[in-house]
Assembly symmetry: C2
Homo-oligomer: 158 residues x 2
């Protein structure tokens, strides 16, 4: 999506972003660095904790979404490499909302991410840009929703 | 805050969570792993990009908030170690909202984070738990707001 112009993005389209495998190693590595709560870094404490066993940090699940989002946009990277101003000054994202972690993610889980384009808005004040609204989801291998948020990004118009 | 009971948390209180130093090394390491967009990993592309130079991934800024939040709660960790059920089944957080990145964070920046307790709600359906609402902020060394979100966590009642 980062590599598309506003005019190329269809409302209602679903963009499969790929998947990320959570391993014991990457769960522990992320949590030790950024979220060393006992239930993310210590098996024994995790067994007594809210998830019943070791679970990934919610921010790891979020960062993995970003990884998939970027990886699914090789075309975008090529375009950006030659056209760095295809992003608005100040950055592409005014922010996200309704970020939620609906189920724990455990080592061994693979989460598949997708974006559903839920809306597009032209901007009277910034005619070179449009706002794209999306509902972003991550589901584990059992199809259970584990992560979601609503995104809002500025995308260049042709 | 994780180590406090609902009844111990005062509405209106401000919790300083400490700070995180963004270095060239940790900015590149995070971005290469989770957010390898040109303006996060490549100086030349970044110079032509939306931030004018290499900037940290927004998810790095978010993960650093978590790091500070957890680090500021040593007492919490001690309590959780002996009382793992001081967190609700299903996890402590129903989610966050209005996550926003208001200014770029550059290598060399130090971001200080804080939580303002904006509200508390008892839960008729879950009398052992309360909901604590907070406004979370990150500011750079110049005092500029770079990151924020509204949090909502379940906290055990005495």
């Amino acid at each position: 999506m980062l590599g598309l112009y506003f005019d190329e993005i269809a409302e209602g389209s679903i963009v499969e972003l790929g998947s990320y495998a959570f391993s014991r190693d990457n769960v522990l590595a992320f949590a030790r660095k950024f979220d060393p709560q006992p239930f993310h870094v210590d098996d024994e404490a995790a067994a007594r904790g809210p998830f019943g066993r070791l679970a990934a940090s919610g921010w790891h699940t979020a960062a993995a979404w970003m990884k998939c989002y970027v990886a699914s946009n090789h075309a975008a990277e090529a375009r950006l490499a030659t056209d760095g101003k295809a992003l608005p000054e100040g950055g592409p994202s005014p922010g996200f909302t309704n970020l939620r972690w609906t189920k724990p993610v455990y080592p061994g889980d693979t989460v598949s991410y997708r974006s559903v384009i839920t809306g597009k808005r032209e901007m009277a004040t910034r005619p070179k840009w449009g706002i794209v609204l999306s509902l972003n989801e991550g589901r584990n291998q059992a199809g259970e929703l584990v992560f979601g948020f609503e995104g809002k990004v500025l995308v260049a118009r042709r």
